[in-house]
């Protein structure tokens, strides 16, 4: 893949394959995926159904070890998890026994950061995601959108260079989802990070992405890469270019009933 000066590759995957042994069969989930993530870009990994995407993200985050393939962070090979990669989870993995503040500073606490410092850092990100005033609320007292904000703040505290967001808005209703999509873009602009955003929603992908990597249905393979920079920002959901691109991607997507 050609590399121009602006686009520094920060993370690259080479021939990643992952499969699981279920009873007497090998069930492939990800097959031979190679991709590059550029510094500070908003990359969306788009794929139908419930297959492969989360596995691929778990591989990047080091939760799973792939059967084959290598991953490189800034040119050096890494294995397992790396503190430079943070993650916002699909199922709002907030700890119900911790307050908003407790959840946000969880990563810092594990890293052994002193209390004062971690309070300060956490507060900064709580403010960033606009949850000021809810520091001492428990997750069950928050709405779905607010919970996701906590998840985002938690991922930010460890100051990762790459932020993986694994279908973070899958469980939200459409209206909240639109609002959160705009929030994510705002936060991303204020605190520039490389974002790898996973979704099965084509509209969401086209609305957010600098680049879209389209995956096939089970097992996940890279089907096509779309560059969305001509679309500009902010984007309008009813703009004809937007609709055209959306249709194009939609026609190219596998149907996962």
């Amino acid at each position: 893949m050609p590399m121009d000066k602006k686009k520094q590759v920060i993370l690259s995957l080479r021939n990643i394959s992952q499969s699981f042994v279920v009873k007497n069969e090998v069930k492939p989930a990800v097959e031979d995926v190679s991709l590059d993530v550029y510094d500070n870009e908003f990359l969306v990994v788009l794929g139908p159904g419930h297959c492969g995407k989360t596995v691929l993200m778990n591989v990047i985050a080091g939760i799973e070890t792939p059967v084959e393939g290598k991953k490189y962070l800034k040119g050096e090979e890494i294995q397992g998890n790396d503190r430079r990669i943070g993650m916002v989870f699909q199922s709002l993995n907030l700890m119900p026994w911790r307050t908003v503040l407790g959840n946000v500073e969880f990563g810092l606490e594990l890293a052994g950061v002193g209390k004062k410092e971690r309070r300060a850092i956490s507060q900064k990100y709580i403010d960033l995601v606009r949850l000021t005033g809810f520091e001492h609320a428990y997750p069950h007292e928050l709405s779905g959108g607010m919970k996701q904000r906590v998840g985002i703040a938690r991922a930010y505290t460890n100051n990762p260079e790459i932020l993986i967001m694994d279908e973070p808005f899958g469980a939200l209703d459409a209206q909240t989802r639109y609002a959160m999509e705009e929030e994510v873009l705002r936060i991303w602009k204020e605190e520039k990070r490389t974002v790898v955003f996973v979704t099965n929603n084509i509209e969401e992908a086209v609305f957010l992405a600098d680049r879209i990597i389209l995956l096939s249905n089970c097992p996940a393979k890279v089907k096509q890469v779309y560059d969305l920079s001509p679309l500009g920002r902010p984007r309008n959901l009813m703009d004809s270019d937007f609709l055209r691109l959306r249709t194009e991607i939609s026609d190219n997507t596998d149907l996962a009933l």
Binding site: P48, G49, H50, G170, A171, D173, A174, Q175, T176, N200, N201, I202, E203, M238, S240, L243, R244, R246, T247, S250, T253, L255, A256, L257
Partner: protein
């Protein structure tokens, strides 16, 4: 009372204690019409639905089907809820039979309709599966099949495709249109996706914020199959969006 209307809703009003949720909503639905209802979040769409399904009783006003007060025991109302509502302990086939067995239809009639529905939806391979063995979208298709198989006087659908991706959604929307044409059912489809409403509906009903009233009725006269990027389509979609955003 004109006979061409299948359903008449007159002055529907609902209070919960002091909370005024629905305010004097009146409209009619022609036999075999596809009506979509849209409105801002929290405008009382759920209450509206629950009044039409008779889960709540209205404070004022009535719902008439064929000129009679609607009664689930007498009339044939079917609802597709937003949440998964297949009975987890029944197989796909038994789920399809569920409603008709409650209505105590003749066994051979049920067999015939179930067979027909399984064929229409292409569910042959899933007949003896249980809902939790299926994907979300397949489970939802069974629910839609269950509702259409009832050949209801009025079919209510409450955002049946809530969180599905667009590809799937287009596919399922086309499937609903196909079923609707095949069965000639009167459908009220509630959604907050304006694109979906314009794609499906013959007429779109726009509700206001709480207490909900009817803001406008928009007729959609675009031939099918419709294209979302068609200028006429975008015009109507923009118009409906404006009407909701206006608040």
């Amino acid at each position: 009372m004109s006979e061409e209307y299948k359903v008449k809703v007159e002055h529907l009003t609902k209070y919960f204690g002091d909370l005024h949720v629905l305010d004097d909503v009146s409209f009619n639905i022609k036999k075999g019409e596809f009506l979509c209802v849209v409105g801002p979040t929290g405008c009382g769409k759920t209450t509206f639905l629950n009044l039409l399904t008779r889960i709540y009783m209205p404070t004022k006003g009535e719902l008439y089907i064929d000129g009679e007060r609607a009664d689930p025991k007498k009339h044939n109302l079917s609802v597709v809820f937003q949440e998964p509502s297949a009975m987890p302990w029944l197989t796909v086939e038994k789920n399809l039979r569920f409603g008709m067995e409650i209505k105590k239809l003749a066994k051979d009639e049920i067999d015939r309709r179930v067979l027909n529905m399984i064929k229409l939806l292409g569910l042959e391979q899933f007949r003896d599966r249980y809902p939790h063995q299926l994907s979300m979208s397949t489970a939802q298709r069974i629910i839609i099949g269950r509702a259409f198989a009832m050949q209801p006087d009025l079919l209510l659908m409450d955002e049946p495709y809530g969180q599905m991706d667009i590809k799937l959604r287009f596919y399922l929307e086309d499937e609903v249109i196909r079923l609707w044409k095949e069965m000639g059912t009167t459908v009220v489809f509630i959604t907050h996706n304006i694109e979906e409403a314009v794609y499906l509906a013959e007429r779109v009903l726009i509700l206001t914020n709480k207490p909900a009233k009817i803001r406008e009725e928009v007729n959609v006269d675009i031939p099918r199959p419709r294209k979302v990027s068609d200028p006429e389509f975008v015009k109507i979609r923009n118009h409906v969006t404006e009407q909701i955003r206006w608040w």
